[in-house]
Symmetry: C2
Subunit: 119 residues, 2 copies
């Protein structure tokens, strides 16, 4: 069946969450949002492109930082309301210069930092 | 630092997205939503508990299906607006009886089903 991006379920702001996962290691790197055009741009260019809610503009990941995300596989879930992009990440996915945004764990009620920024 | 769940950034509906990842295989199994109480219940009981937007009630994953999610590690991202729960999944995470909800890929413009329901 041909994929029709407009059949995805976008929320009341026209957005859908996209989980970025390292295709080699399986590490979950970040979660951000796409609108319909960002989905189409991502599939066409193979460069993962989000919609920045704070800047209200397209966010071609790595365009300024060089930390690009090359699309390896594009997936969506059973409800068509969440995306999973398997990617090749250059450098850090997180703006704190850590490989992943999910670098803090909660263990025995305490926040535990799992990794330092990349040097 | 002591973790304070109320410091997480919930959206205008009081919800935060939670990505469930198989702790052993790294597979991303599903994404659902938690409110403040669901976060606290998950941490206290170690049984992953979401907030069902459709039913407007707590959703202790597996309570009816038996497909429970045992919490292994609870993480949050740099912006405190997304959760990653690393879990031990009994059976299928997806209501279609597939291991993961992300069983459809888009390849060369076509939808490709990556796995069949578990038998």
């Amino acid at each position: 069946m041909k994929f029709d991006a407009s059949k995805l379920k976008f929320d009341d702001k026209g957005l859908i969450p996209a989980i970025a996962q390292d295709d080699e290691t399986g590490e979950v790197l970040m979660m951000a949002w796409m609108n319909l055009e960002a989905v189409e741009m991502t599939l066409e260019t193979r460069r993962v492109t989000y919609w920045s809610r704070s800047r209200q503009s397209f966010w071609i990941k790595g365009e300024t930082s060089g930390h690009v995300q090359e699309l390896v596989d594009f997936r969506f879930d059973c409800d068509k309301d969440c995306l999973l992009v398997r990617i090749r990440q250059t450098g850090a996915a997180c703006h704190t210069n850590r490989r992943t945004c999910f670098y803090t764990a909660v263990r025995d009620g305490e926040e535990v930092e799992l990794m330092a920024p990349m040097t």
